[in-house]
Amino acid sequence: MGTKSKMRSFLAVAGVASLALTACSGGGSGSTAGSNSGGDVKTLTVLDSYNNDPDKSILQASIDKCAAQVGVTIDRTTVPGKDRMQTVLQRSSSRTLPDVLMLDNPEVKDVASTGALSALGDYNVDTTAFAGNSLDAVTQDGKVYGAPVPADTLGLFYNKDLLAAAGVEPPKTWDELKAAAAKLTKGDQYGLALSAAATYEGSWQFLPFMWTNGGDETNLDTPQVKEALQLYVDLVNSGSVSKSVINWTQADVKDQFVAGKAAMMINGPWQIPALEASPNVKWDSVQIPINKAGQTPTAPLGGMVWTVPMTGDKAKMAKAAEFVQCTGSKDSQMSLGKARHTVPVRADLHEEYVKEVPTMKTFTQQVENARARTGKLGKDWPKAATTIYTAVQLALTGKASVQDAFAQAAKG
C-alpha cells in the first residue's frame, strides 16, 4: 500500500510544519479552507472511541451528515475508550494518524504539545461560537486545537419514589445531602452511591465537591479541598454510602441505583439511556449540592473533541478541518446533543435544547458553570488527578486522616 510514500511525504512536511507552525498559518493555508481547493480528496479516515451502540451508530449518523456536506466518504475506526491514547501514540509513532481524530478533552493539550495536532486557526476554522469553558481544555498557547462535541458533566440523580416515601426533598447543600442520605439508608439500601475508584473516574467524581467548595487543583493542601474530602469520609463512616465505593466505576454506581440499592447517585447524563431502559425506576436530577450559601455548583466538563492531526497530507488536513468545522455547526451540535443526552457546547443553543430535552435541564445548567480539568494544569493534570484519587482512597480506608491524606498521596 501507500504507507511508505505517505511516510516519506509526511517526513518532508512534518519537518517544516513542526518548526514553522506560525509561519504556515499566516501563509498559504488560508486558501485551503476554501471549498474547492482539496476537491480531489475523496476519503477521510476517522478514529473515535464510541465503540458501543447506541453511541456508535448515533455518531455515525452525525459523521455521515458532515461528510456529505463537505463531500467526502468516511473510513471510520473505533477503539474502546480505555485504549484510545495507546492507539493514538502507536499511530503517531508509525505515522499513520487518522485524518480526523476524536480525543477526550483532557488529552488534547498533551497530544497538542507533542506537535501531532494542527491548530484549527491554520484552516480558518471559526471557534468563537463555542462556550469559553469548553475551549479551555483545547487551547494551548492561545491556539485552539479541537472542536468540542456536545458535553457532559456530573449531577445528582435521585429516585423519586424512594425520596417521596421517606419524605425527603432533593438536597441542595452538603448538610441536606448528609441528612437525606442518612434518612434514605435502610436495609440493603444506601442513601447515596458514587465512584471513588483508584482511577481518573474517582478523581472526576470528587471534583464537583472540591471545586464547588472553592478548592483548586493547583494546590490540594487547602481547607476547601479537605472539607470536600471530609464530606466523603462522613458519608462513608456514617454508613450512608457503601464502603465499596472505592472499587465502583460509574457504571457500577448506575447498576446500584437501578437495582434500588442506592436512593441517590452522582453520575452523568450518559447514563440516561440506561435509566430509561429500566422504567420501574422513576428518577430526576439536581445540580451538585453546595457547602455554603453563595457557592456555585461547579462540576468538571466532560466530552470528546474533534481534532485534525498532522498527517502531512495538506489537502486532506484542509478537508478534515472543513469536516471539523461542520461538527461545530448548530445543526450538528443540536442533533448529536439530543440523540446522546449531551449538552451542545454553544451557549446560543441552550434554551432551545432544554425545551426539546427537558430531562437535561439540570445538566445544561451544570455544563454552563463546568470547568475543564486541564484548564489550569495542562499536561500536568494527570499527576494532580492521581494525587486526588489516592488521597480519597487513603482517607476512605482509614489509612490516613483527612488532614494528611493529600500530603501523603502527593508523595506516591
Binding site: 472511541s49 465503540n51 475506526t77 457504571a251 440499592k261
Partner: protein
Amino acid sequence: MHAGLLTALGILFLAVMLFPIYWMVNASLQPSGNTLTAGFFPTNPSFDGYATAVSQQGKNLVTSLLVSTGTVLLTLAIAAPASYALAQFKFRWINAALLVILIAQMIPGIVIANALYAAYNDLGLLNSIPGLILADSTHSVPFAILILRAFMIGIPPSLVEAARVDGAGLIRAFLSIVIPISRNSLITAGLFSFLFSWSDFLFALTLTTTQAVRPVTLGIYQYLGSEISNWSAVMATAVLSSLPAIVLLLIAQKYIAAGATGGAVK
C-alpha cells in the same frame, strides 16, 4: 473408594471451580446484565445479550479459531525440534539458551506489542491473520519449549541411536521416533498454545485496527470501555466464545487419554 462416590466428589470440586462461570451465565441472562438483585437462578431470563452476540460475533469466532489453530501449528513447528535439541544434544550453550527462554517468558506483553506495532506497520502485517499468529506465538513458544523439553529429556537416547544405525538421518529419526513418543506432551503443549492464543487480548487489541480481522476476545472488549458497558452482551459473548473451545478441549482430552492408555513407549 467407591467409583460413584469419586464421581460425586469430582462433580463437587468442579462445581466449586466453575461457580464463577455459572455466575457469568446467570448474569448473561439477567435483563440488565448485572447480578446485584439476581438470585441463584435466572428466574426471568432475557436473551437480548445473546441476540446481540450471535448477530455480531460469528465472524470473529472463525477468526479466533484460525488464529489459534495457526498458533498451535507454528508453535509446535518451532518448539518441538528446539526442545529436542535442548533436551538431547550436548551443546555447551544449552543453559544459556534456557535462560533466554525463561527470560522471554518474563517480558511483559505490552513491551512486545509496542515494538511489534511499528514493525508490523512497515511489513503490512497489521490486520492480518499471519501477523496475529506470529505475535500470539510469543505467548506459547517459550512455554512449549520448556514443557516439551521436560518430557523429551526422559527419552532414552538409545531409541534414536537404534534408528540411526538402521540408516535414518537425524531429521527422519526425529520425525519417526521422537515425535510419536512425545505425542502426549505435544498435545499438552498444543492445547495450551491454543488456549493462550484463544484468550489473547493484548495483541488482538494492538495489532488490529479495523473490523476486518478481529478475534472474539476483542469483540467482547468492544462491548466494554467507552461510556456505557453492555454487560449482558459481554457475558453472552463470553459464554458463546467458550463453546468452540470446550468442544476442542473435549476432543483433545480424548487423545490424551488414548495416548496414555495405549502406552507411549512400547
